[in-house]
């Protein structure tokens, strides 16, 4: 497949027929520090469509968690956020979430209700001081009903749905009486109470064992079908991405560097960073050759030069081409966009030899 170059920004191209639930455009987050201006998120663009799972993949410090928190505006107050985050609800009303005032009623109506989030550490997402039932029923009181009996029934049915046995007993228990996997289920049940349009899952299985991880991922897939919601799945684990997502956006240093369908990301990655990431994961049963590793470390997002941000670590870097400006996402294939001046399709990222 020959990459076709266009100058238009990726997200604006030809996919607008599909209704998007969430559209993030030019999202920038900056934090003022004593040492200077830190730019952890520098112009993120992506769209989340109905009923799909979009994987947001990147290493620590690439800005993926900040991006997601800014959707719910739960970032720290000192984060200065600009851009648009357009959220389209079921009745086709579109709202720019960044226009809403900090902690206004509007954003609180959306948070936990239309868009909910599950966190990485179930143990720290729940307060140890209150029973799990009490913490869950809170959001029902806030968003749905003040009727105690109805609220409790709703929580119990939600707990049952995520496969927690004996929910009446669990309702009155404290978080420490749950195992990690059970607590993550309870967290998912809590996120689904209000039948949200979007579920943001921030590394939901990183703290769990493989067997539990597989259970939770299967549960999420099943619930997505039942509830008809979109999932924004944040992770650094490419294995779970391959099993969970429909589309993938790869982030590096506060920017999306490549978006494509999950098949294209794994079979025809074009950005050198994506290729490196995939090459550095060993596939069980595959050839035991040396792992490909990306040289160097992620630089600090401060005082960056106006050139490709991956330049220092890139194996294809070229002073003439790459140093002019930060590359924008351009179309390289069907539903496939990359921010690279020299996009190059490689047969399989995993099979390249040592670098």
């Amino acid at each position: 497949m020959q990459p076709t170059h266009t100058n238009k920004r990726g997200e604006e191209m030809g996919m607008d027929e599909k209704p998007s639930v969430l559209s993030v455009e030019n999202l920038e987050i900056s934090i003022k520090l004593e040492e200077g201006l830190l730019m952890p998120v520098r112009g993120v663009n992506f769209k989340l469509y109905e009923n799909e799972t979009l994987g947001l993949v990147g290493e620590s410090g690439c800005g993926k968690s900040l991006t997601c928190k800014s959707i719910l505006s739960i970032n720290e107050k000192r984060c200065n956020t600009t851009g648009t985050i357009a959220f389209t609800d079921k009745n086709d009303t579109t709202l720019n979430l960044l226009d809403l005032k900090f902690n206004s009623k509007e954003i609180r109506d959306i948070r936990g209700n239309r868009i909910s989030m599950i966190f990485q550490e179930p143990m720290s997402a729940f307060s140890p001081l209150f029973t799990v039932g009490y913490q869950m029923v809170e959001s029902v009181y806030l968003h749905i009903t003040r009727n105690k009996k109805q609220a409790k029934d709703l929580v119990l049915s939600s707990l049952r749905k995520v496969g927690i046995a004996d929910p009446e007993k669990r309702y009155t228990q404290y978080p420490h009486e749950f195992s990690g996997g059970m607590l993550q289920r309870a967290l998912i049940a809590m996120a689904l109470l209000c039948n949200p349009r979007i579920l943001i899952a921030d590394e939901p299985t990183t703290a769990l064992d493989v067997t539990i991880q597989a259970q939770i991922l299967e549960l999420l897939k099943q619930l997505q079908k039942d509830y008809g919601m979109s999932i924004l799945y944040i992770t650094h684990d490419l294995g779970t991405v391959a099993q969970m997502c429909d589309r993938v956006a790869v982030m590096y240093l506060g920017r999306v560097v490549e978006t494509a369908t999950v098949q294209d990301i794994f079979q025809n990655p074009v950005h050198p960073y994506t290729q490196g990431l995939i090459g550095s994961v060993h596939k069980i049963g595959g050839a035991k050759e040396r792992l490909f590793s990306i040289e160097g470390n992620v630089p600090l997002a401060m005082n960056l030069e106006d050139r490709c941000s991956f330049y220092d670590r890139c194996i294809r870097k070229d002073t003439k081409i790459c140093c002019n400006k930060e590359p924008q996402l351009t179309q390289v294939g069907d539903e496939h966009f990359a921010a690279c001046y020299q996009p190059e399709i490689k047969a399989r990222g995993g099979s390249q030899s040592a670098g």
């Binding site: 991880q213 779970t240 391959a242 099993q243 098949q263 794994f266 050839a287 590793s293």
Partner: protein
Amino acid sequence: MQDKQTNTDVILKVEHLSKVFSSKKAHIRAVNDVSFTVAQGETVGIVGESGCGKTTLGRCIVRAYNATEGRILYRAGDGTEYDLQNIDKKSMQKIRKEVQMIFQDPYSSLDPRMTVFDIISEPLRANFKDMPKEQIEQNVKEMAVKVGLNPSYLKRYPHAFSGGQRQRIGIARALVLYPRLIVCDEAVSALDVSVQAQVVNLLKDLQKEMNLTYLFISHDLSVVEHISDKVGVMYLGKMVEYAPSDMLFAKPFHPYSEALLSAVPIADPKVSMQRIPLTGEIPNPANAPSGCFFHTRCKYCKEICKTQEVAFVEKENSHFVACHLRDEVSLQGIPMEE
């Protein structure tokens, strides 16, 4: 594989090792009757879910814990064999130089108030009290270069380094004594994928260069498959299977190994997972089930499994398994490409 099995090459032999933690309320057998051998120059991976006793096993081997029962036979560099459970202080000091450990969390395993030079040189200063300063400095610098740290950074403190660089410091500290056996306890689990690949490659290079033997404890099965020659699977303190890596991954003999392998997410969207579900949760180790520990969650479970304890036997050439039904059921592994 075969020639490595000869007796002279065995560097570590663990026999019926158990470790019991006791409190007023309960006795927990964190490691329960574990036996296996490690040959010189091999990497042995130990896998299992959290709470299965793999870390305790590693700590018993470096004698950070005193095991309750069993023997740990270690063949030192000069050819003499020591039982680490039953050893005089002087010989133990000698062994400490040969057996080192790399820890999981590169953020908490380095003292924030020591410079990198102090951290890496500490084992030298502790073990060779009369080593001249210049010699120490030279050794530390050499090791820093070997693990890919810039020697000019040695005067800095750990907070100035990224996770991957810190793990390199931890590795340099373990290697500066030129050990023979290294216990890596989740040595790459806290690192990002691309950095993980760097550290795994580094460990492999150093192994070749210095003829190291690794005991690689991890819950990440794809890393273990990549790095290990042999793999041991633990469940509830017991080793349930021990075999050469490709044999275990391609054709496991224990139902728990089968379920564990089927749960690993494969980084390839074309492969759909055929997960073999495990019912229930890990039983409480203070109140372990009767018979085979795994019978409460095993889909092949029969009457014999509930009542009779199960022995750890060699079913095929160097493939050990603890299952009553080892000859009856045929289990699924992961198809190998090679």
